[in-house]
């Protein structure tokens, strides 16, 4: 099939680089994507359909190239090729093949662990947060615009060519099923707040494999056409787990994933979803913020325990433990014993073998990459365990009797009953729950 560009064609960019067109990679709503080379380096080139190659679009990309990528999570426009006013495209990094689309996860062709899924949720939320911090809105968060490494939870955000200053004129309204209700009914245009709605939908899909508004009311609809979609996602949206109106509760046989997964997650995560799709449906300014999601995902990442009987991952639920309820395995149904917990501020770090503390756990800086502490066995006494200081800061170990001992980098603090660690900003306590 003929495309917009020919393989073997040379194109000169605005910055003076020569790119050689290699293969057609795919087409979307706005244009086609090709692989290209510059010397020995490979890149991706998005080329717009003529009717999408508008002056506004060109200006947006020029600005994005000028501003540069927020970080390497983004497959960001880095160079521009302009043949005429309605014939142009941009160069971006090529997506490595180990990154899979959300569609692969929805169709179970890619199967991340709960740990990797939690990391992916964290990383993509962090990515969108960066855009919002810089004053941008993304405008089209949906299945096709990001990729996940199912083994590591690393993410790549692509299709950044709609990114522009929040509330500036838009080139896109979003993707059906992801658009905020106020856009579906035509009352509003994409903004940071509608991004927050789309993000909540995406996260719900990832964790639940079900749309948050597709329950009994969806099952009742025979023909899922435009009027039906306008009603479900626009004029009469109702969360499937809305406690005040259960008419859209998931229906067994139709929305089994929703019923299965809802039981698996900690109450605090479920509460964020509830707010997103009850208050958040009606009040854009009161949607769950990125920081709230990040705190929840950080807790998920350090709150997974493997079932002692069958080995599957089970999420620790603080609310359940506080109420004295046992954790049962979703797979083998046996009671799961919860290891000792290091409680730091709002975070719970389960002290599984190999447990690590991340910078965010101690400093609330949203850095879940930098390891600042680890669970370690005392080499002289295997019955004793400690938290080793992997950071560059001094900690203070507070014994049960109040004695304070400095824990310099590289040293470890013994885990003992009623002992505490002062990490600087926050104090960690050890708790046995559940």
């Amino acid at each position: 099939m003929d495309g917009l560009l020919k393989s073997g064609e040379f194109l000169k960019s605005e910055s003076g680089n020569d790119y050689l067109v290699m293969d057609f990679l795919g087409a979307g709503g706005q244009g086609e994507v090709y692989s290209v080379t510059k010397g020995t380096s490979k890149y991706a080139l998005k080329w717009y359909f003529k009717h999408m190659a508008t002056k506004e679009q060109k200006e947006i990309i020029e600005n994005l190239v000028k501003e540069g990528a927020p970080d390497d999570t983004f497959l960001w426009p880095q160079d521009m090729i302009v043949q005429s006013s309605d014939s142009f495209g941009y160069i971006m990094p090529l997506r490595p093949s180990e990154y899979k689309s959300i569609v692969d996860i929805m169709k179970r062709r890619a199967e991340p662990t709960f740990d990797a899924l939690s990391k992916a949720a964290y990383n993509l939320t962090l990515g969108y947060r960066k855009l919002h911090v810089m004053g941008y809105s993304y405008r089209d968060i949906s299945f096709g615009n990001l990729f996940i490494n199912p083994k590591t939870g690393d993410v790549l955000i692509c299709d950044n060519d709609n990114v522009a200053a929040n509330l500036s004129p838009t080139t896109v309204y979003g993707t059906p099923r992801f658009m905020a209700p106020e856009i579906v009914v035509g009352k509003d245009k994409p903004s940071r707040n509608t991004d927050l709605f789309s993000l909540a939908v995406l996260l719900f899909y990832m964790f639940m494999l079900n749309h948050p508004l597709e329950g009994a009311l969806e099952a009742k609809i025979k023909c899922m056409d435009i009027p039906a979609m306008s009603q479900l996602y626009g004029t009469k949206p109702l969360f499937i787990f809305d406690e005040n109106d259960k008419s859209n509760f998931p229906l067994k046989g139709y929305q089994d994933n929703a019923l299965t997964y809802w039981e698996l997650y900690p109450q605090k995560l479920k509460d964020l979803f509830k707010r997103s799709f009850t208050i958040g449906l009606r009040e854009p300014a009161r949607r769950v913020t990125e920081n709230e999601w990040l705190d929840a995902f950080a807790n998920l990442m350090t709150g997974i325990v493997k079932c002692g009987s069958c080995g599957v991952e089970v999420f620790f639920d603080e609310d359940k433990a506080s109420a004295g309820e046992a954790h049962t395995c979703w797979h083998c149904k046996k009671v799961v014993s919860i290891p000792l917990i290091l409680h730091i501020g709002k975070n719970n770090v389960l002290l599984n073998a190999g447990a690590r503390l991340f910078s965010h756990d101690l400093n609330k800086d949203y850095d879940m990459e930098t390891v600042v502490g680890s669970l370690i066995q005392n080499p002289n006494n295997p019955n004793l365990w400690g938290i080793r200081n992997e950071s560059n800061e001094n900690w203070t170990y507070i014994k049960a009797d109040g004695t304070q001992i400095p824990v310099s980098p590289g040293r470890s603090a013994t885990i003992a009953k009623d002992s505490k660690i002062n990490f600087g900003q926050l104090v960690g306590t050890f708790e046995k729950l559940g």
């Binding site: 099939m1 003929d2 495309g3 917009l4 087409a27 979307g28 709503g29 706005q30 086609e32 359909f49 003529k50 009717h51 999408m52 508008t54 014939s87 689309s101 569609v103 929805m106 169709k107 179970r108 199967e111 991340p112 662990t113 899924l117 089209d140 299945f143 096709g144 709609n162 080139t171 896109v172 309204y173 979003g174 993707t175 059906p176 099923r177 658009m179 899909y205 494999l209 079900n210 099952a219 609809i221 025979k222 023909c223 899922m224 056409d225 435009i226 009027p227 039906a228 306008s230 009603q231 139709y254 089994d256 994933n257 299965t260 997964y261 698996l264 080995g311 599957v312 979703w330 797979h331």
Partner: protein, 251 residues
Amino acid sequence: MKKILVRPGGALASRPLHFFWIVDCSGSMFGEKIGAVNHAIQSVIPEMVSAAENNPNAQLLVQTLKFSTGASWITTAPVAVEDFAWEDLIAGGVTDLGKAFELLTAQLTIPPMTDRALPPVLVLLSDGQPTDNYKKSLDALKNLPWGKKAVKIAISIGQDADDTVLKEFTDNSELVLQANNPEALIRMIKWASTAASAVSAPASRPAEIDAPKGATFAPDGVSSGGGGGAPLVIDIDNIPSGDDISGGDVW
């Protein structure tokens, strides 16, 4: 090594999407016309498979109906697009379009149609001029619930085609696509096939809704230059589902 269960549950639930190729095999289609149709549809199938692979909301099912003297199903049951192989059709005989509408009507009745689905897509390829009395069976088709909801597209084959009946079928002259030459035919067929993904997993909705309809909807708008890249943008608001469907018509 035994595969360890990672997470419970199944794939995202999806709905069937019935896609129908309805092909005129009358004598006037004999020779190059039917040859070009056979080639064009066969060559678009891999793209439909690939679109279906990337569509989490639909199970794309394909059926082929031919009509000439009488009408008959080539596929006896809906075939998943990944298992679908195009069977070359041969032209000869009269144009019993009414018979084709009767078979379609039977197929779009519940059952055999399921009561939960995405809007069916009906693609009629013809040079027009039916020889039987098709009006009654077309009315019956359009009065069916699924007939009303179906996205109806016609591809007019050849420069001498008579579009009268094709317009009656689609209720919208913009959905009668002109295929005056084999290249145009490939483009139109490719475009019609993308209607399947547009009704189920619509792509990003561009904001250029004020642009002339021809630019965002009809394939001709972007076929100039660039070697005929078919427009994959279907403005979701513009997919007609019949004048009698209102915003509150959800069933």
